[in-house]
């Protein structure tokens, strides 16, 4: 297997790690040195040739081959068997609906949220339980990181150059969760998005950071819906964009106990996540002064219940769910799901 990437000889592993920093090839953390031997193992695990084109981005005029993907996956600390998940995520990001160029450039500072579904979650050791957005699991941490390294090294989204995020958010280092399908009373995300249950899939979403929804004391579905809808209606993130709602097992158990279906929850959240035109004007979300009637005119988050994507994840104890707003303020970037062929 012949590789095309330029090679750089360095004195040893420690020097290699410093070389990555000096050349501006890291996310600010040390990376695993990518040797030809390691990269070949990753390509073999993926069943891909080095020159297979995985992604083309026309605005930045980049063509990214499987070899470059493998190099960055090694650097991120992935295992070779993660490659099919990474390739599926990149195929999803290449879908025009995702608007890759805008999503990785914008002042809005999005990160790519990955949600993994299906049997591959347990096979590769993804965390869907406690501390799901936090550290401690190699599959979650390194896959999300590989996406960022590819965004930096292959798409040129360097901060201050082709990444103009005003602030960005911590998910730009890594932002990968799996769904705790076993704790869900409903169909999982990939089934809701049209794939068979036995399939494995990854969903990508250009996202802001998670907003915590703490609701401990109501212990009814209604109380949980009020708290989530209120968080979704926050002015800072208010837009017609899509939403991810990551439900804690405790919350979803109460919803199921009270007889709520997935569809009913989406409808209730859409109905509740709304603001008056007066509020939107006072908060600088709409231009102009508040006029007669604006206090009684309502605008909802998103365009309808289908814009709310539900996922179950998190630890067994604690009434903490999360609302993750779209980066897109309008309809410029939508969630995309791809089957993982492994």
């Amino acid at each position: 297997m012949t590789l095309a990437a330029a090679e750089h000889e360095v004195a040893g592993w420690a020097e290699a790690i410093e070389t990555y920093f000096e050349r501006g090839w890291t996310d600010g953390l040390p990376v695993v040195p990518a040797t030809a031997e390691a990269v070949r193992r990753f390509l073999e695990a993926a069943g891909r040739r080095p020159d297979d084109v995985v992604l083309r981005e026309s605005t930045r005029r980049r063509t990214i081959t499987a070899e470059k993907i493998a190099i960055n996956a090694v650097m991120a600390g992935c295992r070779p068997e993660y490659m099919p998940v990474l390739l599926a995520a990149l195929e999803a990001m290449a879908d025009p609906a995702f608007t890759l160029h805008g999503a990785i450039t914008s002042t809005g500072g999005s990160a790519t949220l990955l949600v993994v579904n299906g049997p591959i979650r347990t096979r590769l050791g993804f965390n869907a339980g406690g501390n799901v957005f936090g550290p401690g699991w190699r599959a979650n941490a390194t896959l999300g990181r590989a996406i960022r390294l590819i965004t930096l090294n292959c798409l040129g989204a360097l901060p201050g150059l082709l990444d103009r995020s005003t602030q960005g958010h911590p998910g730009k280092y890594t932002f990968c969760i799996a769904e705790l399908e076993e704790e869900s009373p409903w169909e999982p995300l990939h089934v809701a998005r049209g794939l068979p249950r036995e399939a494995s899939a990854v969903t990508v979403f250009a996202a802001e950071g998670p907003h915590n929804v703490l609701s401990h004391y109501g212990e009814t579905a209604e109380a949980i819906v009020v708290a989530i809808a209120d968080t979704m209606a926050c002015l800072g993130s208010f837009s017609p964009g899509e939403s991810f709602v990551v439900l804690a097992p405790e919350h979803v158990q109460i919803l199921a106990r009270d007889g709520w279906t997935r569809a009913r929850l989406r409808e209730a959240l859409y109905a509740g996540a709304r603001r008056t035109v007066a509020d939107l004007k006072r908060g600088g979300k709409l231009p102009g002064a508040v006029e007669a009637g604006d206090e009684a005119r309502w605008v909802h988050r998103g365009r309808g219940p289908d814009d709310i994507h539900l996922v179950v994840a998190g630890g067994g104890a604690g009434g903490h769910s999360a609302f993750i707003p779209s980066w897109s303020r309008e309809r410029n970037s939508l969630a995309v799901t791809r089957e993982i062929r492994a």
């Binding site: 090679e7 040893g12 290699a16 990518a34 930045r60 063509t63 990214i64 190099i71 090294n153 798409l155």
Partner: protein
């Protein structure tokens, strides 16, 4: 022991076959295109450009196109129309 590491970067490809548009000496009797990229206030900026150029030259016509979204590249059909109908095009971001 020395090791050899692989370059993880991808460079932008040269844009083949795209030359800079022919320059125009002035805009008298010419068609001016204005492409608003969809950001807030880009339209106001372009309106000022139209006023200033209109005061300096006898523009034959002004073609105004607004991209539906600042995050997406302009539609091929819009770019084709600007190329076909206009002698010069000004584009602006707002914010």
């Amino acid at each position: 022991m020395t090791i050899r590491i692989l370059d993880p970067t991808v460079s932008a490809e040269e844009s083949a076959g795209v030359a800079i548009a022919k320059r125009v000496a002035d805009l008298d009797g010419k068609v001016l295109g204005l492409l608003h990229n969809g950001k807030v206030n880009g339209d106001h900026l372009l309106e000022l450009v139209r006023e200033q150029l209109g005061a300096r030259y006898r523009l034959r016509e002004v073609v105004v196109i607004r991209k539906p979204s600042a995050s997406r590249v302009a539609d091929e059909s819009d770019l084709d129309r600007l190329a076909r109908e206009c002698d010069a095009v000004v584009t602006a971001i707002g914010d």
